[in-house]
Amino acid sequence: MAEHKSHGVSIYYKVFVALMVLTVVTVAVNRVHVGISAAIIVALMIAAFKGSLVAGYFMHLFNESNQIYRVLLLTAIFLIFLMFLPLLGRWSTVTGLQHRTPLTPSAAPAAESQH
């Protein structure tokens, strides 16, 4: 177990206050209606920061053993591959086979049932 240099609990209260403030900020920022992409970026950045506070202080990740870091690094790499998945569905698809007129959801079954 990683030896914690101090067992002072004051840090937990500080983190608590920071998390509360950031939660309010998340909601407040969302009241200001910017574009959806900007809103997503800001909200996820705040969430990532809050998440790192929880992981770093509450879960003591900032002074954990190297073994844990290695496990988490591996997980992080595979998570990135996993997040790659939506891109696969969108980025690279076969071209040249598209329908000349785009199929609307209601038109699709009609076209199918004619066969």
Partner: protein
């Protein structure tokens, strides 16, 4: 923790006088890793036999479509086989459940749950797994999952019938059995999650003094990489199973596109889902799963080979680095199962490249094992025969996989019998032979007796010939274009006429293969009571499990073992014996 030690009694040193456990606690709800390993192994073997029997029934239908199944045809039930003739729906159930049972309830539980549990803690000199009760929970989750799967045969509409891959939207609109399949999978996934984290913790935390990572037997390395694959690749399938369950039970449309038509009717759903999402999530698991199937087998072969060539394995370090690299790469090749889903050239180029890269470490491992044979004076024991057969069989399986990993050839071969031939060569004469090698090799450790050699050799030669007659013609059929899922073996297709005849010898070879397993079953039970007595180190081996009594007591080692050397020190010059065990100190030698 200094401040706490004042009130902390020295729990680590109190002597436990364990009372004699009753039958139930000793053999059924045991927390001993060896008992759990044996439970896993026997349950896994039973599922393998059951899954194989399902296949034998299908093989009859393929060889003689429309003719009643002999002997057991009458027992299959009129709803499944009218007058003994298998109905198409039942054929689909058999196919789906054969795949599911063999992969998730047969090979993995036997290779990881069985051998991993029994052998790995002994090989690292641990008294037990790190979490014995979680270990027990892992077995029972597997057991419940297995019961759910078996019970699904008896629900209306029968068991899951959408293939072991459960592709959507077919699986979402399938009969009730699919819901049971998903529930069963949730239990099986939980089981392997509990098992895999236990394995990793055990290997990291409970290695004996002196057993550094570069002194670990290859089998332990294989189990470590396998456990990581199970730990990190299974959750996406669990997520996918949850989503499919929601689609089936709560009426969501995660995998159902807008305007879905089933049997000429537009389905009333909210739509907007993506069928390809299932395939991505499924193969994100199922490609690493391929390595889960093969790596423990490779580990067993390495152990048996090293023991019977009586010299150190050639290339310990290349094997270890290769398997770690292999495990890592197995997470970035999944979409090579999906070349025909409309993937563009950029993506298919990427996945073709990673697939070719991942074949390199497999080749390094196999080459190292082959080169180890060079100049050895080989002992042809029964386990060694199975291990030796593994090498070319896995070689055929692996090499035939390359054309499937390249999109241009895969477009022709996709979903043909060629694919079936490819992965069965990897898993059946590959992994299963390795697992048989392991059973013959470690049986003396588990029981204190050898298995019968003559029966073992009949089992080996019979299986070896039969299994090749079953699987080799599949390459020919596949190249001729025969689809893998045809209920009647393809007789209504002109292009399949010539190769459909091959189903007949393949069918007879399947029954022969079944017959030769009887030699194993008889041998197994006979040898428990009547086999030739084995000494503690039954094969003059070097790894730690042979320093424990046979069978090892609860807690394994009378004295905690200490490791002094590398795992495979056979025929070291200047030593009196041709093997120098890891647990033997230099002073004694």
């Amino acid at each position: 923790m200094e401040h706490a030690t004042a009130v902390h009694p020295p729990v680590a040193h109190h002597v436990e006088h364990a009372p004699e456990l009753g039958f139930w606690w000793k053999y059924v709800f045991s927390t001993d890793h060896k008992v759990i390993g044996i439970q896993y192994a026997i349950t896994g073997l039973l599922f393998l036999l059951f899954g194989f029997t399902l296949m034998a029934i299908m093989r009859w239908q393929l060889a003689y479509p429309g003719q009643p199944v002999p002997v057991i045809g009458a027992w299959l039930g009129a709803g499944n086989a009218s007058g003994g003739v298998i109905l198409p729906e039942f054929y689909n159930q058999l196919g789906a459940m054969h795949g599911t049972i063999m992969v998730f309830m047969g090979v993995v539980p036997l290779a990881v749950g069985g051998f991993g549990n029994f052998v790995m803690p002994l090989q690292i000199g641990a008294p037990d797994m790190a979490f014995p009760r979680i270990n027990m929970a892992s077995y029972w989750a597997y057991f419940v999952g297995g019961v759910v799967m078996l019970a699904s045969f008896f629900v209306p509409g029968g068991a899951a019938n959408s293939g072991w891959t459960s592709y959507v939207p077919l699986a979402v609109t399938a009969t009730t059995g699919q819901t049971w399949w998903l529930l069963g999978m949730v239990f099986l996934i939980t089981s392997s999650l509990l098992g895999s984290l236990n394995f990793i913790v055990t290997i990291f935390q409970l290695r004996a003094p002196g057993l550094t990572f570069m002194r670990l037997p290859i089998f332990v390395w294989m189990q470590l990489v396998t456990a990581y694959l199970l730990l990190l690749a299974f959750p996406p399938l669990e997520a996918a199973a949850i989503l499919q369950l929601m689609d089936r039970v709560a009426g969501t449309s995660f995998f159902l596109p807008s305007g879905l038509v089933v049997s000429g009717q537009v389905v009333q759903i909210s739509g907007g889902g993506n069928p390809l999402l299932w395939q991505h999530l499924f193969w994100f698991l199922a490609h690493p799963e391929v390595y889960v199937l093969i790596l423990p087998g490779m580990g067993i072969v390495a152990e048996v080979l090293a023991n019977n060539i009586r010299k150190p394995l050639w290339g310990y370090k290349p094997i270890v680095y290769s398997v770690v690299f292999l495990g890592f790469m197995s997470f970035v090749v999944w979409a090579h199962h999906m070349f025909l889903t409309g993937m563009g050239t950029t993506m298919s180029a990427f996945f073709q490249t990673t697939t070719m890269i991942i074949s390199i470490p497999s080749v390094i491992i196999l080459t190292s094992l082959f080169l180890s044979l060079w100049g050895a004076s080989i002992r042809f024991t029964t386990p060694m025969l199975f291990a030796l057969a593994f090498l070319p069989m896995f070689g055929i399986g692996g090499l035939t996989g390359l054309p499937l990993g390249l999109a241009p050839t895969d477009i022709h071969l996709h979903d043909t019998y060629y694919v079936i031939g490819h992965f069965h060569y990897v898993v059946a004469p590959g992994t299963l032979f390795a697992l048989f090698a392991g059973i013959y090799y470690w049986f003396p450790k588990a029981t204190g007796r050898y298995m019968n050699d003559l029966l073992g050799k009949i089992h080996f030669w019979g299986s070896f010939v039969a299994i090749n007659i079953v699987f080799f013609p599949m390459f020919i059929q596949g190249l001729a274009g025969m689809n893998r899922r045809l209920y009647d073996g393809g007789i209504q297709y002109a292009h399949a006429q010539e190769t459909a005849k091959l189903h007949v010898p393949m069918g007879y070879a399947t029954f022969a293969l079944w017959f030769f397993q009887l030699f194993f079953i008889v041998n197994f039970f006979w040898s428990i009571k009547k086999g030739r007595q084995a000494p503690q180190n039954a094969w003059d081996a070097t790894t730690l499990e042979w320093s424990a009594p046979s069978p090892p007591p609860h807690g394994n080692f009378p004295e905690p073992p200490v490791v002094y050397r590398d795992p495979y020190e056979y025929s070291v010059p200047g030593h009196p014996a041709d093997f120098t065990p890891q647990f033997q100190s230099d002073k004694k030698a």
